[in-house]
């Protein structure tokens, strides 16, 4: 069923009810996912959360314990890997050591008897700027070069679904940006479907149409990058995607428009449509760059949440902005990013300050995963 030509468009991918158990380990709990044809989908998550396993199930290299995989509407759950219109850029590259770089890149084309395989392979190598090493063996290349060969070897096939498992991890920043642009160009020109696994949240945010944040074999949240950033739904997402100040409290009153939360004696408000809950315990949060820091006693607008009685604990100046860590006796540490647009220099450590932020920037989160966050951090350290 392997097509004898290039895909002229992407295929959509649907995972329904996927579960994957390894002996004594549950890698994927229950995964439902739809990636529309022609979209750039990023899978983001901490180490060991099951990203590679997900891709392997899609590629047909690992059978799911339960659930179905559909590509372009066809159920491929039981289709062998070599029959699926999918190519993978492997995290470990897996370049054939006995073949030259060119032969590696032409491998997939030759298997499908596509004419002009070598010239296509050269073109793909030019794309990743490695045509000059076409005759070398993979072992004679640097890590970053090998990674680009792996990229070329998959892309050259123009599959309707391309799986990229941290394809740019070994590249320096400049090359990385350049390859990101190239990838985006290829993807949008041909309209292929990309599923891109990455640790780099900036990469995920800038490249993808849709980002899914994965944790412990589950998708925590899925959406457009800006939506995910502006309105995270769980404490894990709020913390993993960018940085957040999180406060855990109890809802003291709720109306149709807003929910008021009592956090260690301070009343903080979150818009009802930005909160996942309006009763009981609730974790609320805000992005550090949405927060303002005020020395001494200042007048605060009514539509702001304010917390008082902080003391600047750390100041880290980075040119454009300054990052302050403010210590509150009751709330713990709160991080504030302040633009250095105003003259006057940074506030000194030890200064008594209050912190405020607009109510409409506040989000109310599912917090039942806060424990998992630390578990994931431990996992990441062990792994």
């Amino acid at each position: 069923m392997a097509q004898a030509s290039f895909a002229d468009q992407g295929a959509d991918l649907e995972l329904s009810g996927i579960r994957k158990e390894f002996p004594g380990f549950l890698a994927i709990e229950d995964l439902d996912l739809v990636v529309p044809a022609g979209s750039f989908f990023a899978l983001l998550g901490p180490s060991g959360c099951g990203k590679t396993t997900t891709l392997r199930i899609v590629a047909g290299l690992e059978p799911p314990t339960r659930g179905r995989v559909l590509i372009g509407g066809n159920d491929v759950t039981h289709l062998k890997a070599y029959r699926r219109p999918v190519n993978t850029v492997f995290q470990s590259y897996a370049l054939f050591p006995h073949l030259s770089v060119l032969q590696n890149v032409a491998f997939g084309l030759k298997r499908r008897h596509i004419s002009g395989a070598d010239s296509d392979a050269h073109e793909a190598l030019r794309l990743v700027e490695l045509d000059h090493v076409a005759d070398r063996k993979p072992q004679q290349l640097s890590g970053g070069q090998q990674q680009r060969v792996a990229l070329a070897r998959a892309i050259v096939n123009r599959p309707s679904l391309l799986l990229l498992d941290e394809p740019l991890g070994a590249l320096d920043l400049k090359l990385r940006r350049q390859m990101q642009l190239e990838l985006k160009k290829i993807q949008s020109q041909v309209g292929l479907t990309f599923v891109h696994v990455t640790h780099d949240q900036e990469e995920a945010m800038t490249m993808a149409d849709t980002v899914a944040v994965m944790n412990h074999g589950r998708i925590e949240q899925l959406g457009a990058p800006a939506d995910l950033y502006e309105l995270p739904k769980t404490a894990f997402v709020a913390d993993f995607l960018g940085q957040s100040n999180l406060f855990r409290g109890t809802v003291s009153s709720a109306s149709a428009r807003s929910v008021v939360v009592d956090v260690a004696g301070q009343s903080l408000t979150v818009p009802a449509n930005r909160s996942v809950r309006d009763h009981g315990d609730l974790t609320i949060g805000v992005r550090p760059e949405k927060s303002q820091m005020h020395a001494g006693s200042a007048q605060h607008p009514a539509d702001h949440n304010v917390i008082e009685g902080g003391r600047v604990a750390e100041v880290s100046y980075s040119g454009v902005s300054t990052q302050y860590t403010v210590q509150f006796p009751s709330l713990g540490r709160v991080v504030v990013f302040q633009q250095n647009a105003d003259s006057g220099g940074p506030v000194a450590a030890g200064t008594q300050v209050s912190v405020s932020w607009p109510i409409e920037s506040t989000f109310g989160l599912h917090d039942h995963r806060t424990i998992d966050v630390t578990a994931a951090a431990n996992d990441a350290q062990e792994g």
């Binding site: 392997a2 062998k80 070599y82 054939f96 491998f107 298997r111 004679q140 096939n157």
Partner: protein, 305 residues
């Protein structure tokens, strides 16, 4: 090759290579002495013997003197070339048969049983188990089974599958069978060692790139296990082509299945024609060396390991 990048750093310290080479020579000394004593000296003695002529002053059989009698070689090749040919044909067939049987065994142990260490160890023991019994006894046992009075032949004859005057022993088949059987462990072990180290992710990458299982085998698995295949075939082919047990009348062979090894043995022990025995040995050695060199070059394994 991957270490080439480090070469610059080490060459900066100029005195190091000198010191290292002196240590290397010191460490090599026992090995060199061993080679000189047990390889070079016998080889020289063998070559000298091959040029000897019968002692003109003595009528004793087996008395020879050195006289650069190069005609020995002409006589040897002229008389024995069909036997050389047969030896190599037998050895090649046995090697191919051992490869065809041994590769799947090695694949089974090295790839299929990957991750189940105790099963791997058990099957490996099964492969080498024949070594616990003497080569001669094993071959004799097969003579018992395949011989004219053995149960196999009697059964086949009573079922009229085999003509009444048919044999198994004494035929080319039984000699090649014996060679194959006896050298299979030499084939399996190196291939196993290769396949055991084979990174299965290459096979996955291959199937991700549209290669069917057979194509993956031919394009990825086989080339990557080539070092094992080359050493396995050499370890089988070299001893098989010089073997004198399987083809001998006393074991699985007969007069029409004589191999070079049998002729060397006969010339040396029975005819006491030491120069001829030496000639045959030298010619056998040279041919094997030629074949091996050609084979290793062709299979391009030098840069695989």
């Amino acid at each position: 090759m991957a270490l080439a990048g480090f070469a610059n750093t080490s060459s900066r310290r100029t005195s190091a290579p000198m010191r290292r080479s002196r240590v290397a020579i010191l460490l090599l000394l026992p090995g060199l002495a061993y080679l000189g004593l047990f390889f070079l000296a016998p080889l020289v003695s063998l070559v000298i013997t091959s040029f000897e002529a019968p002692n003109p002053e003595s009528f004793d059989i087996g008395s020879y003197v050195y006289s650069f009698q190069w005609q020995n070689y002409v006589a040897g090749v002229a008389e024995y070339w069909p036997i050389f040919l047969r030896s190599f044909v037998f050895a090649i067939i046995a090697t191919v048969a051992a490869l065809i049987i041994g590769y799947p065994i090695a694949y089974f142990i090295g790839v299929f049983l990957r991750g189940r260490a105790s099963l791997q160890a058990f099957t490996l023991i099964l492969v080498v188990a024949p070594f616990f019994i003497s080569f001669l006894l094993r071959t004799l046992a097969w003579k018992q089974i395949l011989g004219d009075d053995g149960w196999l032949v009697t059964t086949l004859k009573s079922l009229s599958i085999m003509p009444a005057d048919g044999h198994i022993t004494g035929t080319a088949f039984s000699v090649i069978f014996g060679l194959t059987y006896n050298f299979i462990p030499f084939m399996v072990l190196p291939i196993y060692a290769s396949l055991e180290r084979l990174d299965l992710r290459y096979l996955e990458a291959s199937s991700d790139l549209y290669a069917r299982p057979t194509t993956t085998f031919l394009k990825v698995t086989l080339p990557l296990s080539m070092p094992g295949v080359v050493s396995g075939t050499l370890l089988t082919f070299i001893p098989a082509s010089g073997d004198y047990i399987n083809a001998s009348d006393d074991f699985l062979g007969g007069p029409s299945t004589q191999m070079v090894g049998n002729q060397i043995q006969a010339n040396f022990l029975k005819l006491l024609d030491y120069p001829m025995a030496a000639v045959l040995s030298v010619v056998l050695m040279v041919i094997i060396m030629g074949v091996v060199t050609f084979y290793v070059r062709r299979s391009g394994t030098e840069d695989l390991v």
